[in-house]
């Protein structure tokens, strides 16, 4: 699998993200991020949890280059970046397959190769058989999986997730979490994930960062010791519960 990635994305030089003293104040004076410095290395799955509106998503927009920070620098290879949006953002006039092929198409990947990449990605997220469906006929969870498949086609070494499973029901979310951590276990990309669900964060991540309310600041950091692939039952493990409790306590503190 990584063979494809290296032929497709030959110049991946820095397989991670480093935020150095990032600050963000919007033109209207809103101070979204006070000061954030942390890094996500290759093979790391880092999740940022924090109260709503604390600037978590702003971090991703800055990392991806969609937004210029007011201060500080980000070290990231923006040509080899995957971004999973909060909404599935599928183009409604394209079928699942055409949607999944979009990024490769925009990168001028030849059509035969594109179709192989799309097939692989669709299979990875378990959407085989729905290739010719239009988004309107898919459930929320399936749309999100199609969106995930689209991001995976280019095999980005760095993946940014902007609270992607926030709008689906609990069972679908856990299922998507299972799949995401399995993909991470198998592919070993560097991931920066944003959520306000603690169990989602603990279940998938190697590291969890807690962000304070606006203006956002990283207030604490937790290593998650469990090995991959992680079984669904991990969610009922006492150690899992204990760690979630600690993070929850910090998060409550972060609200003040």
């Amino acid at each position: 699998m990584r063979e494809t990635a290296t032929t497709l994305l030959p110049t991946a030089k820095n397989e991670g993200i480093t935020f150095d003293a990032i600050g963000m104040t919007y033109p209207d004076g809103t101070n979204a991020i006070d000061e954030a410095s942390f890094s996500v290395g290759a093979g790391e799955f880092v999740t940022v949890v924090g109260p709503s509106g604390c600037g978590k998503s702003t971090l991703l927009r800055i990392a991806s280059g969609l937004l210029e920070p007011s201060s500080g620098t980000v070290d990231i290879d923006r040509n080899h970046l995957g971004y999973v949006f909060q909404d599935p953002t599928l183009l409604p006039w394209r079928t699942v397959r055409q949607n999944v092929e979009l990024l490769a198409e925009l990168r001028h990947v030849p059509s035969a190769e594109r179709s192989t990449l799309a097939n692989d990605a669709i299979e990875m997220v378990g959407l085989s058989g729905f290739e010719e469906h239009y988004p309107r006929s898919l459930s929320g969870g399936m749309k999100m999986r199609a969106s995930l498949a689209r991001t995976l086609t280019l095999r980005p070494p760095v993946l940014l997730f902007d609270e992607p499973f926030g709008a689906v029901d609990e069972i679908t979310r856990e299922h998507l979490n299972d799949q995401t951590q399995a993909l991470f276990g198998a592919e070993g990309f560097a991931a920066l994930f944003i959520t306000h669900s603690i169990s989602e964060a603990v279940f998938m991540s190697t590291r969890v960062l807690v962000m304070s309310a606006r203006p956002g600041r990283i207030v604490s950091e937790f290593e998650v010791p469990f090995a991959y692939p992680r079984p669904p039952e991990l969610r009922f493990d006492p150690e899992f519960a204990a760690l979630s409790g600690l993070i929850s306590k910090d998060l409550r503190g972060a609200h003040e």
């Binding site: 991806s64 280059g65 969609l66 970046l81 971004y83 949006f85 909060q86 909404d87 953002t89 183009l91 409604p92 006039w93 394209r94 979009l102 990024l103 198409e105 925009l106 990168r107 010719e132 239009y134 988004p135 309107r136 006929s137």
Partner: protein, 297 residues
């Protein structure tokens, strides 16, 4: 997707159609969407239509006394004189041909010009700001006042009638296309930005497909307006090859009630026909994916 083709054929057969005529498919799609039978769609308008014709008879024979009956001739006289007398019918059809031609040329120009202007406006904020007030003014022009002027400037042939037609039908195309081009969500634009998509790629693969439903909505409005525009020009010029407008004026001045009604009916039908064609095109291009048209699963 073979299943869909199957459905369409079955549905077409249900309505008694002998072939896979696309129009039939469109109708049956709409029927399936609302879960209603074919009759429950046709009967209500038919009943209302019959009631209106009844009202017409009522006014002709019971409201108007015999001396004033020329004001509203009964429906069967309109049919008889307006449609079944060959000379009258031929005169009307010739005029219809002239007017249809003007309307279609005008509409085609409006569509091309309107879409080009909207694309230009969507690409640059400055162009949008510069052009928009004049677009609104164009739409607010009292067309009756400038129509004679257009006649003086461009003579009374096809050209000036087309110009009147374009002035009337251009605005909805521009406004709807622009609205449609701006309707793609920010996240979708971000998606393209992250892949370093160029302006043209973004327009072709994101903004234009997103705009299609709105563009068709604009075309349907403009289609009706283009027929009105083609008639208005002709009506006011009162010169050159006679179209529907001159026919209307002639029959009105000569109190040919039957032919006047017949001509009005025919011009309505022309408007309806153009409207339906664009509705059909809209379904053809957007029903598979867009919410407002076609079936839901």
């Amino acid at each position: 997707m073979t299943g869909v083709g199957q459905d369409e054929r079955t549905a077409a057969a249900d309505t008694g159609a002998t072939d896979d005529a696309p129009i039939t498919v469109v109708t049956t799609r709409a029927v399936r969407r609302r879960g209603e039978s074919w009759t429950s769609r046709v009967v209500p308008p038919a009943v209302l239509g019959a009631a209106l014709i009844g009202l017409w008879y009522f006014i002709t024979y019971l409201v108007l006394d015999e001396g004033r009956r020329f004001l509203m001739r009964p429906p069967h006289d309109v049919l008889q004189v307006g449609f079944f007398e060959w000379d009258n019918l031929k005169e009307m059809l010739d005029a219809l041909l002239v007017t249809s031609r003007v309307a279609l040329i005008g509409l085609a120009i409006s569509i091309v010009l309107g879409m080009l202007v909207a694309v230009a406006m969507s690409q640059t904020r400055t162009v949008e700001r510069a052009v928009f007030p004049f677009m609104v003014m164009l739409q607010a022009i009292p067309i009756l006042a400038i129509t004679p002027l257009i006649g003086f400037w461009f003579k009374y042939g096809t050209n000036s009638r087309v110009i009147v037609c374009v002035i009337i039908s251009l605005f909805p195309i521009i406004v709807n296309t622009l609205f449609g081009l701006q309707s793609a969500e920010r996240d979708m634009h971000d998606l393209f930005t992250l892949q370093h998509a160029g302006r043209l790629t973004r327009l072709r693969k994101l903004m234009f497909p997103a705009a299609l439903p709105a563009i068709f909505a604009g075309m349907r409005i403009s289609a009706g307006l283009s027929v009105i525009g083609a008639i208005v020009g002709d009506f006011f010029f009162g010169q050159g090859t006679p179209g529907i407008g001159q026919q209307l004026r002639k029959h009105a001045s000569q109190l040919n009630g039957e032919q006047l009604f017949a001509t009005v009916i025919v011009s309505c039908l022309l408007g309806v026909a153009v409207f339906l064609v664009f509705g059909w095109l809209q379904t053809l291009f957007t029903s598979k994916w867009h919410e407002s048209t076609g079936r839901t699963r």
